[in-house]
Every structure is written in C-alpha cells, then in structure tokens.
Symmetry: C2
Subunit: 497 residues, 2 copies
C-alpha cells in the first residue's frame, strides 16, 4: 500500500516508529506494535507501527514518520512510501522460548542482545525478555553467554598487557571512594588499571562524578589507549565509551519496576570488565542496613556466582564481603568525597581513617592477587606506596593525562548554605543509615550539584556530647537545604543513644 | 519547573505521554518512563515521560504534549505548565509482588485491573504484569479474582432472568458456526441467550463477522435489553459493548509474543460470561491438528480449570472436548458460513450434515443442562425445534430485532473470482488441516472481504475420483486468488491418498 508521508517532528532516540490511521490499519489487517517494512525507492527500513485513532494525528492515506525513519529513508513530508508487514526478528522466538522456561544457547542470546543494541525490539518484547530472565532465572552458562554477547556487541578496549587489574563495589554505601585510592596505589606498583566507573543513579555520587571534580572523565578510546601506555591507568565514566551498550537498554526496563535480576546484574557488571580485558578483579560486596545486598548469606551466594562466572569468562575474581552498616569516609557528595580522597592520598591529618584502612586492605589484596606483592605483604606494600607519596604521584599523572590538574584539597569548597546537625543528648552515635544519608545528600542537591552533600563529624560508635555536631549538610539553595533537613528529621536514619 | 507547551499533534489512544528535552530531564533528574504530574492552573494530569534528544522534537524549556494530555489540561500550544515527579500507582507494587512469585489478593488484582482500564500503566509495567502471570502462574483464586475485576471494571448487562444460557468454543476450527444454530434453537425453547461473539483475529471469520452478513452486530446496551425482553436472545459483537475492557489491553501485550497465558485466557473468556450474567455455560474445547489445544490431555486439564473457575464464580459449566481435525461445515468465510447456517436452519438439502449433527448435539446438552429438556431428551427436542422451523423462526426474530432481514440463502453469493481444486488421483480425502484451510481462506481475502473464502466439496474420509473437485476458492481479485492458490500448493494441508 502507498501512503503519503507526514513528518511527525519527533525523535524517539531508539526504536523506529511509524503511525497510520486506524482505517488503513484495519484495511491492511495491521495491529498496534506490528513491524512494518517502509520503502521509498531503493531504501527501506523496519519500524514499529502505532495506530492513530483521530484524523488529526494521521489521516487515512497518510503515514506519520518519526525522525529516525525519515533519516533512514531519506524521506520528507509529502513523499510517497509503501508499506508491508515485516517478519518478526528471530530474537522474538528466543524470548518466547525463555518465557516458556527453557534454556537459551549462546547463539540465541547473542541474537537477542544484537537486536537490543540495534533497537529492533519494542518495549513489550524487551520487557518480556528482562522479566523472563528475572522470573525464570538463568543458569551460569546463560549468564556467561549473555555477558559475552553484551561485551562483544559494544566497543572493546584492547591493551595487550598482563595483568590488567580491576576493582568493583556492588554499591549502596555513601562515600565509599576506595577506588580512587586503590587505583593510584596499583598504578604506582606497576599494574595496568583501566577503570571504568558509573555516575550516580540513586546515590549522592558515583566514582565517575567524584573523579570529574578533578578532571574530564569522558575520553575517546584512542586517548585511553595512550593513557594506559603512558601512565598505566585511568578512572573514567564508562558511559562515555560504548562498552556493553545493551546494558543501558536493559536497565531502562528494570528501572520502572525497581527489579534487579541477579543474572542480568552479573552480566551487566562482568560485561564491562570483559570489555576492558580485565584479568584480575576484586569484587566488594558490602552488607549492612541500606546496602543493595541485605545479608551475609546472600552476599556469599552472590560471591560464588561471580567466581563461577569469572571462571567461565577467564577472569580471576576475588570477592570480599564488607560490613557496611554506615558510610565510609566523612564527605558525601562529589566535591566532599574528592576532598577526602585527596587528603588520603596526601596523608593529611584530615584523611578519614576508615577510608584509608579499607583502601589499603583492598589494594593489598589486589597487589598479592596480581602477583605484585608476596603473599601476606600486600597491605605493607600498599601502605608504603601511599606513605611515600608514590600513590599521590600516580594520581597526579592520571589526572593530568585525563586533562585535569590536581587541586589543593582545601580549594575543594562545598556549597555555601549549611546546616549543622547536633547531638540532642550525650551518648554514642548508634546509627548512620546508608540509604537515609544518601537520601539527605540527594535532597541537598547531590549529584546534580557536585558541591552539595554532607560532612560527617562522627561515625558509629563515636561518643558525643549534647550539642556536639554530628554532620554538616551543604546545599546551594535554602530551598534544597530545607528539603534535606526535613528528610533528616523524618527518616530516623541518624540515632544517638 | 515551568515549561512552555508544544502541541505534538499526536494521540496515543491510551496512555498519556509528554516529552521534554534531555537537558531539562537531566536537570530535573527525570528518566524515560517516569511518571510526571503536569499542572495548568487548577487542572492536573499524570503522564508518562519521553525524552527528546534533539532540539527539533522538543527544545529545552518546552514540553511536548500528546492530545490526551492537552485535553485533560485544556491546554494549547504556547501555554505554560508546571511539572513534578508523580508517585507510582499502587499497582506497580503489586506487579512487583507477582514478579517475585507471590500470590495476589483480590483487592490487589482489582487495583491492577483498574489501572489497566484507566491507562495508568506503561507498556513496560503492563507487560511485566502479563509476563509475570504467564511465567509465575496464577492459582484458581487469583484467576477468579482477576475475572471478577475484569467484569466489574467494564459495563455489565443485567437481565434479571434465569436461566441465562451461553455457549463458547475455544476456536481454531474453520467453519465451526454451531453458535448461530444453537442460539435460535435455545431461544425457540424459551431460553435467555445473550450471546456476545468475537470477530476474526487469526481465523477467516468469527461468529460476529458471520452474523453481520445477516444484520448489524454493534448494538447499545439499552437496545440489547429490549431484544432480550422481546425475543429472548441475540448474537452480537462483544467489542461493541464495553464488556471487560481490560481484556483488549492485555491481549495487546500478548499479541506480539503470541503467548496465551492460561490464567489470563480463562479470565478473559469468563469475564465476558460474567458480564452478561450467564448462569449456564457450555464450553467446547476442540482438539485436533491446527486447533488451539493440541491434545486431549491438555483439553481435559483446561476443562477442569474452567469448571473450578465456574464454581468460584457461580456459573454452571459443562465442558465438551470435540475431535476437530478438519473444518466443520462446507463454507469457510463469513458469507459462505452464513449460507451454511441458513441452509441448516431451513433444513435444506445443502445443509452440511456435520454442522447439523454437532449443533443438535450441543443444543441438546444445553437444553438438558438448563432444565428445558428431560435427561436424555435434549437431542430429540433440539431436532424437533429445528425440523418444525421453530429455530428458523427464532433466528428470523433475532435478526430482525437486531435490525436486519433474513435473506434467501441462495442470495448469499460468494466472491466472483474462483479456483476449483481437483483431486490429483483417485482415492480418499485424508487431510483437510484446519490452520492450512484458514490460511488459504485468509489469503483469498477473508475476513476483510466477507464474500471471500472456500467451499469444501469433500470432507475427510470421503472417496474422490481423479479430477473431482475437492474445494472451490472464492476471491474478489485475481491477485488475492493467486496468493490463496500458492498457499494451497505450498502448505500441504490437503491430502488425498
């Protein structure tokens, strides 16, 4: 059937959409969400059909094309195109197979991931895949195949070095900026550390946000290769390189339902490690109130799955389970966390001791694991690299290679509107609940305002006198500050007893 | 945040959609598919957020509104509106609960169904519900609660009569027009039969399509009430009355993946029976090559579930499993099937004997079941009502009450382009496969062209001589006819041995 193009002046940013009037749809026996081949002269593309009930949107005899379709066909308003029903992509058959509780082969998963990356699936089909994986589960071979498919359908960074060391934390603990201390220690020890990090999604700051206080974090693949050759490591935002692009599209479906399918979570994390060619990975699974993993039992279970997956993928993995019932470090929010990091690397008296110790411990494990330190000597080596300024030097080289300049920590000023929260009575700090602290910092403006956040004067177990400050909240506006104060009072996440 | 309205000139027909530029979305920490409250003066509405990556679609500071949102706010191009993040509907929590494999209460299912009917769920959320129901399964109490919720959130026809008799076939058998013979027999016997039927989706004709050859099938609720009072029965298209409207929206999600979740299928069928107040239902489950239910074992299982569900809902159900390995009747396609029905009701020599016998058998069961005939005397009574012309008279009254006029069957002319398929050798007709016959008839133009289809000169088991006609294909165009002939030759669904 021939139809006249209406330029809808809309871009979806992903899947291609066309709209026809319901009269034409009925005539052609087409349904909402059907796949349509649209042809103009020698060009053709496949799009998803939407049906207009009113003449106003798209009148009979016309077809509304979204930007992506206009571009693909090189078509414009008033052109004539022809349409036909298209075959469903092969992946729909495999999604159906998973829905019916069957195992998928690596080839089938690869076809599904390719269709995800190329925007060939509708929301209904993609959701079905994600939900099927969640409710039916995936075995470790399926997770490994999914991981490989996700890595292979994106860009890969190839460094031809060994060992390539990586560190990852499952997250949920505010202020947990160990990565920015561990990476320079490892680089100072001669390790290759191509660290890709995420930005904050539900937290006050991601490692990428905090690193961005010091230098650019969006760099090209060729630039990254040069940095590895020159410096040995970097800390960048993974979103800037096209690593495992299927992941974002899967998260886009999981987000509205707040589901976290274990198989997809494992694949999502490990695909990015595979993309940078990691050979040794330290995986931190924090456990405690308000973290992502609720109990030690679950953490052990997850750790075993990471190890199994690493084994199949040829990545050596060490898992540590950390008791993480309160934030690490004193600063919460990009600027405040960057300041903690710099104080730590400079061995300044303001360096938060919990952050220092945890970073040295983790760096020590990685030094031994990757063969840079003898068994039992990792912590000592990490400590020496920090104390001698070697780690600070490595971080300076990394920051400069990424196009930044190391500031004095004292120059990293938090936002100007402040509220000091003081102990209501004399006693001990009993609770600083992770998710409440995160919420308060976000209400104050983090992560959108990098200088907003919290500084913790006390940690759990510390004695306090009535009237002594427990935390200072920093915000750019009185408005946001008052939201944060309200959250603090409402959440019950800070308890002195 | 205040934004300037852009009229997108698009209607979705269901869920409300707004579009903002990605710059504003980032600033406001909003994500694709977030729910947004949009306010203009005292009016407000909740819509789903889409994000425009280009300025061309929606530039920063602007918000693109779809028709439904413009109407809800009484807003126009250039107006100022404010937006805020909205809470998720309660039903999302319950969908999550089902995703995690838990049982849902009647109240929870009711909330979900209400949100489905009111277009409050995104495709992702609705798909998650449907897929969760499919992969996690629902127990009979959940199915019953879903059925009741679907019936109660739509219109209901109340007739205050007893018994109200209904008949349903799971489908998949071309030409199976028993309903149009059973209903007038029952009406002639004094039963109340408010029969709602579907149009063809994947078949060459639905009962509603075939009835439409004789009279209008889209009637208002008040008109239907009057017909029941005056005549005692009708045969209409269910889609014209707003019975169980959630069903269409659920099917819209199942369609792209060709899934048929048993729980939702049970609820979908039974909700419509509950909506018309049926008290006695005869359920036919056809079994045979190319039908929906593959084996007798599955059919028995499904029959038990229907009976259990009927018990909970207070609807008496009798299930029959029929051996349905070939089409019933000779005509396939609306006009050809209507002609078979009229020949049968007139006891004409052209009446297909398989259709006559099956209809009398099923009508007999219902006459006994509803108490109109004594046990063992149903078939006899049905036969008498047919032979005396009482059923024909009842059908005439029904057709006229619906606004039509009974034609002479000979006046029901099939389409003019024909192809006669003849036996290639002498032998017996071995196979007339349901889904192949359906496909050939659809290729010839059914159900869009009501006069297109097939006339079967032979049935399975009939002896044929070489060159004798097995079927005639009717089509409006040589083009469609050639498609049908190609399908006939390719499908191997008609075998003589």
């Amino acid at each position: 059937m021939k139809l006249i193009v209406k330029d809808m002046d809309i871009a979806t940013g992903d899947v291609q959409v066309v709209i026809v009037n319901e009269k034409d749809a009925h005539e052609l026996d087409l349904h909402h969400m059907d796949r349509i081949v649209v042809r103009k002269n020698s060009k053709k593309t496949v799009a998803i059909l939407d049906i207009a009930e009113s003449k106003k949107a798209v009148s009979p005899g016309h077809i509304g094309l979204f930007e992506e379709v206009l571009d693909a066909l090189n078509a414009k308003h008033g052109d004539e195109v022809s349409i036909d029903i298209a075959d469903k992509p092969e992946s729909v058959t495999y999604i159906k197979k998973k829905l019916d509780g069957k195992r998928l082969t690596p080839k089938e998963l690869r076809v599904i991931v390719e269709d995800i990356v190329h925007n060939n699936l509708t929301d209904i089909e993609l959701t079905s895949f994600v939900i099927a994986g969640y409710t039916r589960g995936m075995n470790m071979n399926e997770v490994a195949a999914l991981t490989q498919a996700m890595a292979e359908t994106g860009d890969r960074l190839k460094f031809n070095k060994y060992p390539i060391v990586d560190v990852h934390s499952i997250g949920g603990v505010p202020g947990n900026r160990t990565t920015m201390i561990i990476v320079p220690i490892l680089v100072a020890a001669g390790c290759i550390v191509p660290k890709t990090s995420s930005r904050a999604i539900t937290s006050p700051a991601g490692t990428a946000d905090t690193m961005e206080v010091l230098c650019p974090v969006s760099l090209s693949a060729s630039k990254l290769k040069k940095i590895i050759d020159d410096v040995g490591g970097f800390i960048i935002w993974g979103g800037a390189v096209n690593l495992a692009p299927a992941d974002d599209k899967i998260i886009h479906v999981e987000h509205p339902l707040s589901i976290d399918a274990e198989g997809q979570m494992l694949a999502s994390i490990m695909a990015k490690k595979a993309s940078v060619g990691a050979t040794h990975l330290l995986m931190e699974i924090p456990v405690g109130r308000g973290t992502k993993v609720g109990t030690t039992r679950e953490a052990k279970h997850l750790g075993r799955h990471f190890a199994q997956l690493g084994h199949i993928l040829g990545i050596k993995i060490k898992t540590i389970i950390t008791d993480s019932s309160e934030p690490i470090g004193n600063g919460i929010g990009s600027v405040l966390e960057a300041r903690d990091v710099l104080w730590t690397l400079k061995c300044h008296e303001c360096a938060p001791q919990d952050l220092v110790k945890k970073s040295l411990w983790m760096a020590g494990i990685l030094l031994e694991f990757s063969g840079k330190a003898r068994k039992g000597k990792g912590y000592e080596m990490a400590h020496r690299l920090l104390a001698t300024g070697a780690a600070y030097g490595a971080m300076t080289r990394i920051v400069e290679a990424q196009g930044g300049k190391m500031p004095e920590p004292e120059k990293l000023a938090p936002a100007q509107k402040t509220f000091v929260y003081r102990a209501q009575k004399t006693g001990k700090v009993r609770t600083l609940e992770n998710s409440s602290i995160a919420k308060i910092a976000r209400m104050a403006g983090a992560p959108i305002d990098p200088d907003a956040g919290i500084y913790l004067h006390k940690h759990c177990g510390d004695p306090v006198k009535k009237g002594e400050p427990i935390m200072t909240i920093y915000s750019r506006s009185q408005h946001k500050l008052s939201y944060a104060i309200r959250a603090l009072k409402k959440l019950d996440g800070v308890i002195v007893a």
